[in-house]
Symmetry: C2
Subunit: 302 residues, 2 copies
């Protein structure tokens, strides 16, 4: 009974948030409940569970948690390049035009929720980058200008709002997404896989948070050989993750080229970071590697 | 001998970076060395140690690692509010004026290195915020407009570039910095203390990365009582950290009001998060808590 009352209160909170054009984090919702008398939650795990249930229920009708106005409490990714973000003001509706070519060495930080945003761009692709270091290099050297693209820093496994941002941007502007990450089981099966098909523990929500059009630009096992990159030995945890992906993960099981690449990586017994390209010069990645790869997107791993 | 050669090569790299107006992360520098023949590093720990030595050596002459063009590989904080960032282009020197009131619900993402930036503002203070959730709330509701301030999201312990950004901004524009973090030993002795006096393991570098003018707006142990905030019991690790701070940390030992506050927290045996204010309404923090606190900055903890 208490849990039913709590679910109703939580849905009521969502309704109120929509009406006032406001939002709440999971934690906000938990603390809000402290004023719900009998329906108060004692632990945040309980309110999170109720919110997850409501989210699952609404997702089958195509409504995302962000549309219910429950937002994540995590930093968004950073964006630079040939993109104008259109962001209507919460209260006045006046649209702010945010030009991502005008941030100098800085960048645009994606908000926690992106449903209200729309885009204008004539960029040819989105480049989603694993590390802050490579993002800063491409941004500072205006790689987006010469290659006519949009740079997104994922800073590790991309957050929900970063994934949703890339998905909306790619859908609305009909441009491809290329992922540029480390060549190791973590970069491939955690970062890239999460970007492309969503995170494993929220399969019913992946419709909002996956970027199915993403393709893997690199670093690939073949790149390690071709560019004679400095490597590190695979750790036990890498080997375990790679074997697990090959054996149990539907994503890898359904893509022959990925099975081949992962098996190759296991056989080579090494991993390489995207910054390993610096062996050939700090800006080799800009002047050689990316232009060569971008000449053949058809060869990117799926 | 090898190590001396490596140090010279690393200093040579710094010189080259300054001359080409470029930069390198620690990892970039390690991979660069793979082309240094005999002077190549076998492990990144070795190249990091050499870089740390060079940094320490230069710091006594007032030169920071960022001025040597060695930058961190970490995301910067997010900024919104009454600030214009002036960022001269790497190549042309043309200055980009970045208006942090024009980011809609998004924000300005601080670059990895900020030495080249300067600022224009008539804001009254900088508010440095622990969580992305509270930052997003204050940003979306344009708290910076009504209170004439600059909001910075630290997203946990602030990175070097975030601290340096706040320090430069406060120094150049002569405005105070107020920290708004959770009331727990981590928020106080890790996040706030790092912002104010720098991180413990880099004492000789703190001259660049501390914000001595920072003051602690809250959440304080007194706030927990006054606002009847929902709390959680202190964990063993919290208690250990608080006792350790009181006993061994020069920062707490030199500030009586902090000793009193930390002892009070230990006595109460609880901690409270900044989002706990949501108990009184999602926007209580904007409408009540912050305006009341900001009326009396003289009462902030040092």
């Amino acid at each position: 009974m208490k849990s039913f009352a709590q679910t109703l209160r939580m849905m009521g909170l969502s309704k109120q948030l929509v009406e006032t054009n406001d939002f709440a984090t999971k934690r906000d919702a938990y603390y809000q409940s402290k004023n719900w008398d009998e329906a108060r939650f004692d632990e945040q795990t309980e309110s999170d569970a109720v919110m997850d249930d409501i989210e699952a229920m609404c997702s089958v009708r195509g409504v995302s948690r962000e549309q219910l106005r429950f937002i994540p409490d995590e930093h968004g990714g950073a964006v630079a390049g040939k993109l104008i973000v259109l962001d209507p003001d919460r209260e006045t509706g006046v649209v702010e035009r945010i030009d991502c070519t005008r941030f100098g060495s800085g960048a645009y930080s994606i908000p926690s929720t992106v449903e209200h945003l729309s885009f204008e761009t004539d960029a040819k692709f989105v480049l989603a980058i694993e590390t802050g270091g490579i993002f800063q290099r491409l941004q500072s050297h205006k790689f987006w200008q010469t290659s006519n693209c949009i740079l997104v820093s994922m800073a590790g496994v991309p957050t929900r709002s970063t994934r949703r941002f890339i998905r909306k941007l790619s859908d609305e502007c009909k441009i491809p997404v290329y992922a540029f990450v480390d060549c190791d089981p973590y970069g491939i099966s955690n970062i890239y896989r999460t970007l492309k098909v969503g995170s494993g523990n929220a399969a019913h929500l992946s419709q909002f948070f996956c970027v199915p059009q993403a393709r893997f630009l690199g670093v690939t096992p073949a790149d390690i050989r071709e560019y004679r990159l400095p490597t590190h030995p695979l750790l036990d945890v890498d080997i375990k993750r790679a074997r697990d992906a090959l054996k149990n993960d539907p994503f890898f099981k359904s893509h022959k080229p990925w099975q081949k690449a992962m098996a190759e990586l296991l056989e080579m017994g090494v991993r390489a970071e995207q910054q390993a390209l610096a062996k050939w010069g700090l800006n080799y990645v800009i002047e050689e590697y990316l232009p060569r790869k971008l000449a053949n997107p058809a060869q990117f791993l799926p």
